[in-house]
Symmetry: C2
Subunit: 212 residues, 2 copies
């Protein structure tokens, strides 16, 4: 019997993972500003203070959310793409992972900004890059550049998604075709940014591996 089916009992004790699950649901359904320790406690039928048995503080909890969100971007089967294809694929996987939860980009990016966890997305990207024969240091700062762009871009995308979902329909019914919920020009700008960075990197690799 799963915990979700546990209907008749007075209460259930929770595990760390239960807390993360519940937090992710609140995040996705109501957004980051509504993800409150008090509300999370109420969702789990527990006092807010009980959460501090599982997590040292709210930031640590958010870091766990960030990890879970980014985990979706782990490649399932090893690809035999070249470094460029692999990196592009990974970038898109990260974008999808962030878009899968409301405010996902902001959670990951603020966790990164506080220096907690979030080594995972960096590793995913630099692993792809190292196939290109770049030295470790170059792979890492290039991965950071890619990640900064990805997080900034998707944050912006999610902000627009949310603004549109609110009553800000106002101008011209948003001027695009009826049934596109996944933002067409957002994807275009994403592709463009990734392409710029990858093209720059390729040029860099030619310059260093075959010196004039």
């Amino acid at each position: 019997m799963t915990k979700a089916e546990n209907v008749g009992m007075k209460y259930t004790r929770h595990t760390r993972d239960d807390v993360v699950d519940a937090a992710l649901r609140i995040l996705d359904e109501h957004g980051l500003p509504d993800l409150t320790m008090r509300r999370l406690g109420a969702t789990l039928d527990v006092q807010p203070s009980a959460l501090y048995w599982h997590f040292a503080n709210k930031q640590t909890l958010l870091a766990s959310l960030a990890d879970r969100i980014v985990e979706r971007a782990k490649p399932v089967h090893p690809t035999d793409d070249d470094w460029k294809g692999a990196t592009r694929t990974e970038a898109y996987a990260l974008r999808n992972a962030l878009l899968a939860f409301r405010d996902g980009a902001e959670v990951v990016s603020s966790t990164l900004a506080l220096g907690l966890g979030a080594g995972l997305p960096l590793n995913l990207l630099s692993n792809c890059l190292e196939r290109g024969g770049f030295d470790h240091r170059t792979s890492e700062i290039a991965a950071a550049a890619l990640l900064h762009f990805i997080l900034g871009h998707v944050s912006h995308e999610q902000q627009r998604l949310q603004a549109d979902s609110l009553g800000v329909v106002a101008e011209a019914v948003s001027t695009n075709s009826p049934d596109c919920d996944v933002t067409p020009q957002g994807l275009e700008a994403f592709e463009f940014g990734i392409s710029l960075l990858l093209a720059g990197l390729e040029l860099h690799s030619h310059a260093t591996t075959k010196p004039v």
Copy 2:
């Protein structure tokens, strides 16, 4: 007589700009988490509620701070650089402007993330790019890509600055030469990221202006 010299009087009424000035001081000296409406009121010898005569809410105030921070990146005299040089210069000017205030990048980036103001940095960058003969749309999404990188990178830089300034000296006295407060490897990574994007753009322009 400037307001700062006004010592003997009981109180002075404030203008919108006074509030922004005081807020910028708190930001720079104590950081964003300490920039509270209540603390800001206390600094100005005023009830917190008085601030709501000048600003509709805290976010609007933060947007004004963001504008002031970014204004430093306005070019003083028109340069005759090519688009690449001008854009690189502007990117560095933005970095310096953000670094000039504690948590500057976070203030600007969160303001941008909420869709308030912050059109300025985008315009500064896309103006430079348009010298390259890119069409308006390309200039804008390239400017957005640059800005995402800049904000993400400088945020990360400022987080490390702050972490270092706290007692987290711990490991190996940070392994770099004695008197460098302006983070040498931070600048290196910044240069690398900007170069990748500019190189990618140059390639793009060749591809579109001289088709095969």
